[in-house]
């Protein structure tokens, strides 16, 4: 990793100097999924924008078997890869939004789909990470793709932690019933005590049937930055030079995707902007 030396170097490269190759991307995200309105969000809970219609790549597809999405996969920001042996850095991003909430930018490292809300035995996930393979900071999310059942249950995942120890089990998280069953809902699974990351997921297990099979999947995500939208019609600028978490390095082939923490039931329309430079 080759860090920027100082502010002057950032300014030079973000204006195209020294092969900085600045990239400014804008993407409009509509609160519709193909021809239907997106499901209402739930205040205080996360929704995935993976399937929302957008001006960059259309909308994300529902995965089946475990797969590694990358920067050419629709549903993501589809940024270019760094060239000439350089690394790519996210300098900042901005949002305007029709609803209050928060936007989480993350690298979608692995995803699968086709899991059932009525299967009560372990359901296989699998797949092998190609980015952030050490696992530190990686999170396990459940993403609902088609409505599962109305009965509230819990779900756990069996995974390999950041030290390569398999057979670890997440804390249980609620799944099923209103607010935890609709398409686009994201459910985050806390890790077993002492763990700080995920290298692989073996399986997920429901405590019992939710009553409807639907379709859900698992995402391994690496969060990169969070921005807060204080009210409908507002947004934010996030400058990673002057604010946490510092300049996020964008891995080659990263699938940069969005999650939304809602403050109401209004599914958001978002304009997202991001600035990158290479070093």
């Amino acid at each position: 990793m080759t860090e920027f030396a100082d502010l002057s170097e950032v300014i030079n490269r973000m204006t195209g100097g020294n092969s900085g190759n600045p990239e400014n991307l804008f993407v409009w995200i509509d609160n519709r999924v193909d021809s239907a309105a997106a499901n209402a969000t739930v205040a205080g809970r996360m929704s995935s924008l993976w399937q929302y219609n957008s001006s960059m790549g259309g909308s994300g597809a529902v995965p089946t078997a475990a797969a590694i999405p990358d920067n050419t996969t629709r549903g993501g920001l589809m940024q270019s890869n760094p060239s000439g042996g350089r690394e790519k850095w996210l300098l900042g991003n901005g949002v305007t939004c029709s609803a209050a909430g928060a936007v989480l930018l993350y690298d979608r490292l692995l995803h699968n789909g086709g899991l059932s809300g009525i299967v009560t035995t372990a359901q296989t996930v699998g797949g092998t990470l190609t980015r952030n393979t050490g696992g530190i900071g990686n999170q396990i999310w459940i993403e609902i793709y088609a409505l599962i059942g109305a009965t509230s249950r819990t779900i756990t995942a069996s995974y390999t932690n950041q030290d390569g120890v398999s057979g670890r089990t997440t804390k249980p998280a609620l799944i099923g019933a209103t607010g935890y069953r609709e398409a686009q809902r994201l459910i985050m699974l806390p890790l077993q005590d002492g763990d700080i990351g995920v290298q692989a997921i073996d399986s997920v297990t429901l405590s019992a049937s939710t009553g409807t099979a639907g379709n859900f999947g698992v995402v391994i995500a690496k969060p990169l930055g969070l921005g807060l939208i204080p009210g409908a019609g507002t947004g934010y600028w996030r400058d990673y030079l002057t604010g946490l978490p510092g300049l996020p390095k964008i891995d080659t082939n990263a699938c940069l995707a969005f999650a939304f923490m809602a403050n109401s039931t209004a599914a958001p329309q978002i304009m997202f902007a991001a600035g990158f430079a290479e070093r």
């Binding site: 409908a232 019609g233 400058d239």
Partner: protein
């Protein structure tokens, strides 16, 4: 041309240009994107036949001094804006690439009136270029959807956008600006050939297709704390990490979004760094 370092940025801003702007209060639809193209002062005109827009198009910001009269390249380096409203409001700065009008809200079949859109004269490969429906006279109150047939960034014609909602109270008023999501795997637009509504919105009105390139977001001009709240923003420090070069011929305009039915009077200035 790149800026060498922080001192060069400061020097470039000192030598650069400042462009002031004012827009009177604009009626809007709460939480929906609104064009300020027809907003006085210095309002643009309603287009009919397809036309490419440039810095000389009436309604364009940055009218004097013309960037085409200058010899350097210019980065958008600072922005300041105040909004006379107690609503939440945010602005987008866009380069309006081309536009047309004369489409009808009562059409029930594919419309090709005044289409295709004019050929792009900037960002001609279409990468990152967005298309939008822009409403010039209110269409009807029946909610319908519309898709557009377009040529994508790879030059492939016959691509079909995702449907967007038009009509009904939220998406029918003068000033509504409705960006259009693209067909899967596309990342830009070179031209739009036709518009197909799902059915009539019940009032003809007048709308058109605008192709544009976003350049900058200015969020949170007012957040209910004060009736007048000024924001000063620097893309290099505290901004979104991008400082786009402004094309010499750019037709710059503002879009706005607010959480009430009024955008409020907007005053401000853009500062360009000379590089």
């Amino acid at each position: 041309m790149a800026l060498a370092d922080y001192q060069a940025l400061k020097d470039a801003i000192e030598k650069g240009k400042q462009y002031l702007f004012t827009k009177n209060s604009q009626t809007a639809t709460s939480t929906k994107l609104t064009t300020l193209w027809l907003t006085t002062p210095d309002a643009g005109a309603i287009p009919s036949t397809p036309a490419a827009c440039n810095a000389d198009t009436v309604g364009a910001l940055f009218s004097e001094p013309k960037l085409t009269n200058l010899t350097k390249s210019y980065h958008l380096a600072q922005a300041e804006a105040g909004c006379f409203t107690t609503s939440n409001s945010s602005l987008w700065l866009i380069d309006r690439l081309c536009h047309q009008g004369g489409l009808s809200g009562t059409a029930t079949a594919t419309q090709t009136t005044n289409l295709p859109t004019a050929a792009l004269t900037r960002y001609t490969d279409g990468v990152g270029v967005m298309a939008a429906i822009e409403i010039y006279a209110a269409i009807g109150t029946l909610a319908q959807t519309a898709t557009v047939s377009y040529t994508n960034q790879a030059g492939v014609a016959g691509r079909t956008s995702k449907p967007v909602v038009i009509g009904a109270a939220s998406d029918n008023a003068l000033g509504r600006f409705i960006p259009i999501p693209l067909q899967d795997d596309d990342i830009g637009v070179r031209s739009v050939e036709s518009v197909t509504p799902s059915s009539s919105t019940a009032t003809a009105g007048n709308y058109g297709i605008t192709l544009f390139k976003p350049l900058m977001l200015l969020p949170n001009l007012a957040v209910g704390i004060h009736a007048i709240q000024q924001r000063c923003m620097n893309p290099f420090l505290g901004g979104f990490g991008g400082s786009p070069v402004i094309d010499d011929a750019a037709c710059l305009q503002l879009l706005a979004v607010a959480n009430t039915s009024s955008i409020g009077i907007v005053h401000g200035a853009f500062h360009l760094a000379e590089a």
